[in-house]
Symmetry: D2
Subunit: 384 residues, 4 copies
């Protein structure tokens, strides 16, 4: 399959929404967008404070605007925007961008409500715009390998799944201390959404699980709340779950586990063995086949299947990190955008990146978790 992007003959022009001073995710998006030479950064709304926004834009050598609408209006050559503002801003910014005919790369969670998420997914579909949601963990080569092995039937019939995402960022009583701007919006559910932990990392766990297993989560029973005394936002959610076909599993996420250093673990069990991936060893994948010694697959080493192999940038034994995973999303989104611009078919291998539909699934999961908790932990359907 030939790729569409090279036929475009130019880089895509990207506007930035958010990710200004103090942001960790802003530099990540920018470096990822540029890594493969498929995007030029053109303009940005880098701060809600106009002056700070101008200074940040100047430092990046891009044009500054006070709002998404203003940028879209003033920069007619833009191809796409990248959205990395606080959660509650996504809906209006994505509406504006899609309305202006732009493609979108948007950080997660897509929105703060399922209804909003559905609106954006519909809008992207109607306008035939590319919408890439940056669940970057799903773009690690060894996650793609895990998905491909599951799809290839390596494990036989699936039996159970487990996913966890554990952080320490909210393990202390940060509410008492001086609040950073970031903490201020995180602790305000009007901005961060109805469930902090689910918006921040629960949607990652949900997406990673669905992505690798290739099925929706259909029902959940949850224990959702706060571990830290006096806290009014959620920092813990454990779920019992069913995926399509009755597949059993668990999902555990928390931001209040002191000493937990961004722990993400995904296990998929089948009749013929299991696969396990953990974030601390992101370049490896453990395969425990029934009746044989455990194997450790290495990114770029023997046994790579095509969906993983196409994302391997450097030889096995040379570590890659999160930046490359993020860049994989941007590269593939660029392929889809170029195809849309040219009116040709994109390389189908590039179409594994998460989209607005994953955002819808994530908000459906989030709202079902809240509903289950409200019903005393009762098993609750996840909207499809």
């Amino acid at each position: 399959m030939t790729e569409a992007f090279p036929r475009l003959g130019r880089r895509l022009r990207l506007g930035l929404l958010g990710g200004g001073p103090g942001s960790f995710i802003g530099p990540m998006h920018r470096a990822a967008a540029r890594l493969d030479g498929r995007f030029d950064l053109i303009a940005g709304v880098l701060s809600s404070n106009a002056e700070k926004g101008r200074a940040a834009a100047a430092a990046l050598g891009i044009a500054a605007y006070p709002s998404a609408a203003a940028m879209c209006a003033a920069e007619p050559t833009l191809d796409a925007v990248a959205v990395m503002t606080p959660n509650h801003c996504h809906i209006a910014e994505c509406r504006a961008a899609l309305g202006a005919g732009l493609h979108v790369v948007c950080d997660k969670p897509l929105t703060n409500t399922l209804a909003e998420a559905r609106e954006l997914a519909s809008l992207a579909a109607e306008r035939k715009r590319v919408f890439c949601l940056t669940h970057a963990y799903s773009a690690y080569p060894m996650i793609r390998q895990m998905k491909a092995m599951v799809a290839a039937g390596t494990l036989g019939e699936l039996r159970a799944v487990q996913v966890e995402y554990l952080q320490a960022g909210m393990s202390q009583r940060v509410e008492n201390g001086p609040l950073t701007a970031k903490l201020r919006w995180k602790l305000d559910t009007a901005q961060s959404g109805p469930s902090l932990v689910l918006g921040d990392i629960g949607t990652h766990a949900d997406q990673l699980l669905r992505f690798v297993v290739g099925r929706p989560i259909t029902r959940i029973a949850t224990d959702l709340g706060a571990l830290v005394p006096g806290r009014t936002v959620h920092d813990w959610c454990s779920c019992l779950l069913r995926m399509e076909g009755g597949l059993r599993g668990t999902l555990n996420v928390s931001q209040a586990l002191a000493g937990a250093e961004n722990v993400i673990t995904l296990r998929v069990f089948g009749e013929r063995g299991h696969l396990e991936w953990s974030h601390a060893r992101s370049n490896f994948l453990t395969h425990a086949p029934h009746g044989e010694p455990v194997r450790t697959l290495s990114r770029g080493g023997p046994g790579m299947l095509p969906p993983a192999a196409r994302l391997v940038r450097i030889p096995a034994g040379h570590p890659e990190g999160l930046l490359e995973a993020f860049a994989n999303l941007y590269r593939d989104a660029a392929e889809a955008m170029a195809a849309a611009i040219l009116g040709v078919a994109p390389d189908p291998a590039a179409l594994e990146f998460p989209t607005a539909r994953d955002g819808v699934a994530g908000l459906a999961f989030l709202e079902a978790a809240i509903a289950s908790q409200a019903a005393g932990g009762a098993w609750t359907d996840v909207a499809s």
Copy 2:
């Protein structure tokens, strides 16, 4: 504190119930009983088949009996029995032994019902007999260290707990194949109890968690059933749980996870960090203090607290295994037995071994899990 055992001036005389040919746990009990020179093996009922029982006893150089009752009657010098028969036999054998005034070491699960468990606990208390339940994982030095660190407040106020016990033994459709004697009783709920996975390993997970945290589990919501299609016994249980004081947690056990090699992981999170122990690295304990680098404590190395240090047999860097953990139970049970025989106080440090009361707690957990499942996964109180 002086120990009572040396003052006894002799070894304890032990009768064996079960653990004959083909058993893995039989040789483990016997080696553990003898390791510290505190027990002599005297007699045994080693098989329900009398001939096999005699042959097995002869091979061990001990007297053979057809039943617990017969052995207790014919061997008046016995101090104690060790019970390692199939689950459903425990109640009658322990009744017989306690009735004969003997101390008991019994494998888990204590019995198949909570009522039976309570009966044995009451009987042991009434008769003032030592009753050691061999949840051997709780006797690994690094589990004792974990418990001691939690008790010492190393983690501050506790926030959440997680325990899992995952096995592969039932991952295949063993029901279809030729059934071993062991499988036959395991698959018969009249013998193995109302929930195979909970009896076999759920009680281990329950005990390990309660032991380390030092609190009872008060409420659970469970997803209990079979992963393998067509299976009529339980091979999966995932639980949301609360411990005393509202402490949140999860417990996951399964025997049907292909490639899972007796995986046991226990994590305790507190405001100041967390502790994690996993069976595959049983000689180590991970301590992740908030705001400091992660530390790996090594059995016998720096930082051992007294309850762990007293069980360290060889220097750090020289691995110990499950045998020593099992033997720790026997050694401490011998101390309690010697004290009872002499009518003196035992070394209080020796009294951490699990007892019939742990068996009661285990069965209460098991029955609550079944009740929760029957109620659609509803939160259910665990009887105290």
Copy 3:
């Protein structure tokens, strides 16, 4: 300290020598050069085949030249060149670039002889040009942390050192098969230098050890040769060594160890403990203090010293890889180049990157290893 680079007000203009089609290191250099927005790629000599070179340049959107000399002559605005051609080409290309007043980033080994290396080091010094030698492993944050901890006296007086670099690339009789272009020059000592394994990876091990310990290697006794029967180039070197002050150690490198996936391990032992870093876990550093539990430092986590902290790009728990290490060299070289252009002092923190002097030390090590081997493994001084 203010950095000079921002005051330059523009990106540095970089010409590329080598790294064309089929190269792994070419894309790595280019991505690293661009990652921090300090270099624009302007022109290149990307293949010894002119047509291929033009096509490769076109694909990168840069100007193509047939030779370093031609490029330097035709592109007067170039600030620097990046050299990633086969080893034997470095000397002429670096001469040309330095002669044209350009700064240089050069891949290792610097040259194929100590005399040539000295010539380049002298030339760079005379011309006051920045010369960055891309021993990228030395730019991993946790290697900088290790160096900083050693320098801070964390280990007390040093006692011994160990470094190894093990690869599998030459483990098979590749000489018999169809030779790639890369293999062809590697197997030709006229191109790859007098000792393949020492040029390819021995110089990395030598530099990494000297860098972290902060002392020169003074004497070595070597076992140098080929593991694969019939091979005429070196694929194995094990050394006993002394560093300044009599510090003992070992260095082992091989490219013929089947199954070894770019294994690099560095250990430094002192009176108060030791530090260990291994490439497979490049985001971590093990610190084993005498009499305390082992600590695992995590990149970006607690305990980072300033020389490491300044290179941390994303929070702990989010993996970085080799690309960021490579980019750290380019970023710091850019600082030094900007300072030279502006005639101001560079940020001293940026001056840890390897230079032509490291290349001299590497070739001195290589020639001493060959001399030791020629003398039957006798202890041999390493030229300073």
Copy 4:
């Protein structure tokens, strides 16, 4: 093959030499001797101080003697002695025991000189007595597996070997402090032998390497000395080596590496991959086959070859430790002793335990290392 031991119809009667109060290795020998029910401990010389020896013997319930000669004379029913006295005592005690017709289990190093080692090997051969030298690491099941895989040609033609044994016990200036009895004899070369580090752990590394590879070490070039300033005994030895057939390798041992917790690592590389075993994960073996994912074999899990499988006591996932390895030596030595007593052939599978001939090889290695060092590190033949 039937075993001889069961036909003996009784336990072997063992006398103990050394291992009294304060010893770590004494309790290990005793527990190992008893674990499989093949030895009864009868008598002992447990201290050079007669009173302490009597008290220690009483605590064990065995007869006390002032000397090996006295014990051998007074206990005519003894079958064997176990020697765990300081190194310099071995020669006389083993002479006495063999002279009295007893079988011997002896701790390493066999003696302090090669001549003495040869004398004992000859004496054992002449008298046709079993002589088991307790290099217990060679009796870990996964070491046996490693040896069996090498012998089966899993790696193809061998290419290189690496062994290391690193400890911290002598990392501090213990010479300055109050000397324990153990330290006193260790620091006295008249008692501990001409090279402390080589006697203590170098002989272990030498034996483990020869055992697994199945070939003698033929030549070495060494760097032998003391890392700790002012120390007069050796605490460091690094060696370049050749095994039979020209196989290259390295051996590194030290007792003065702070923070090193009894680190033993053995790697064997061949044309088709490599095997690696490390002590901290003694229940596992890493197999890196060329061109396939790395495999982790687990003790008792899939892939066990017969020489390893016969030593597996409990299922995979249940850790075994050093005690079982030690006991494996005693069990197999008992088989050989029983066969000798009965005048029948022993089970050949039992004959892998180290013997006095390994002690000879170990002392030959030690003396060659000293000779190499004396010759400025020159390559030196190891006597066969």
